[in-house]
């Protein structure tokens, strides 16, 4: 085994920590008092974009328990009195599972299909959060603001998604390596 230099170790650690740190930053950015009229609406869904993108390119660096913690943190920070804590965590975990299950397909399709998948999964997330919030409050809530948030983040995806995707390790020829265990289905173990 070859001895690793300090830089190589730092590089490895940085890569391993990058998705988690980006997610944390996105959660904190959610609360940043941005005054841009449309952009600030989309901020609460920024973590969803991060979860989607990193679950797609490197799910092993964004494990489920981390998503659970990040979701709970988001709910604690964002939620006012009466809002359910943990619903974002549930959404994140389900989203990761859905992506990992279809990952090999999603990595191969052209961008518009990916975009569509993002829109589909995020609308699921938005409706899930809305549903639980209504259930928890036991009073009707307008879905329209949530849908506006969704619309803005879907429009933002082509800008931010590829930017985050550049952070994945550069494999030669971009062949999924064995270390990405989640990419392999149960039938692959031949």
């Amino acid at each position: 085994m070859r001895a690793e230099g300090t830089l190589a170790i730092l590089d490895r650690w940085g890569r391993a920590a990058l998705p988690g740190l980006t997610l944390l930053l996105a959660v904190l950015l959610t609360l940043a008092p941005l005054r841009a009229p449309w952009l600030s609406d989309a901020l609460p869904l920024l973590p969803v974009l991060v979860v989607f993108q990193f679950s797609l390119v490197s799910p092993e660096r964004l494990p489920g328990p981390l998503l659970l913690a990040a979701g709970v943190l988001l709910d604690l920070l964002l939620g006012g009195p009466g809002a359910p804590v943990g619903v974002s965590a549930l959404g994140f975990v389900l989203m990761r599972a859905a992506i990992v299950a279809n990952r090999r397909y999603l990595l191969g399709v052209p961008f518009p299909f990916l975009w569509f998948a993002f829109a589909l999964l995020t609308v699921g997330f938005v409706v899930l959060v809305w549903g639980f919030t209504v259930l928890w409050r036991w009073s009707p809530l307008d879905l329209a603001p949530a849908l506006v948030q969704w619309g803005v983040v879907v429009v933002l995806y082509p800008v931010l998604g590829p930017l985050l995707a550049r952070a994945r390790p550069r494999d030669p020829l971009n062949v999924p390596v064995q270390a990405r265990g989640t990419a392999r289905g149960p039938g692959d173990a031949s």
């Binding site: 959610t30 939620g79 943990g86 809305w130």
Partner: protein, 296 residues
Amino acid sequence: MAIRDDFEAAAGQVRNVVQRFALALLVVAAFGIMLVGKVDTVAVEHARVVALDLAVPAIEAVARPVAATNRAIADLKEFASLREENARLREENARLLAWQTAARRLENENERLRELSRFREGPEASYITARLVGDSVSAYVRGALLNVGRGGGVAPGQAVVTTEGLAGRIAETGENSARVLFVTDVNSRLPVQVERTRERAILAGDNSAQPRLTLLQTVAGVQPGDRVVTSGHGGSFPVGIPVGEVVAAGEGGVRVRPFADFSRLEFVRVVDFGVAGLVRTTPPSPQPAPPGARSR
């Protein structure tokens, strides 16, 4: 060889089961957290406060470049309209000078009348100036985070005002952070009165920009343009803090546009009026706080 293959296949199956089980476990954990939050609201509040205290310094760091960007955009906009702004301000200044004269006269008159009637004023308010470090705004919440908490004298239930009028009230406090619930939030219920007719009403937020005014007596008297001020009922706020202006009164109910501009809040004042409210657990100190703003 065959044994080894069998072993590998079995290991793969076990790994597979664990992976599937992991998802179920995570989902169950998320549900568990939600249920715990529903049952034990005190624990959740505590967790919220701890998370808030931990996150506020980080949010401040994140928010600083954001604030700089906002300021730059605002500066550019102002620069473009400098001339008109100047003219407008001059006009406003002339108008305000007239008001100042009127106010001085009224103040004198008021003082004399108070002396005559031996009116005793309530405890004087003390102010804590706080910087808004974070938005707590999503599709379901309308609020903000402040950089001053219990350590600075902020307590739940205190009024949060801007130069224009009431913004909301303190909902939670950490050691060095606090969460404001705006009057537009769906959880906000504020006892108010219509200034002109003295009709009492409840201003109920519904997460829209214009909260709904529910009149306790009659709808007939309210017109668009009427000012709405706090009524002091319920005991958490004193009488007469300006809240907003009626913009629509009709079949669809009465709507109020708050005076506070929530989209450009940067500094707010947390006001302790020393009024014993429903949310206070300890009685206010009998000594009035020293006048003047304590600021951080």
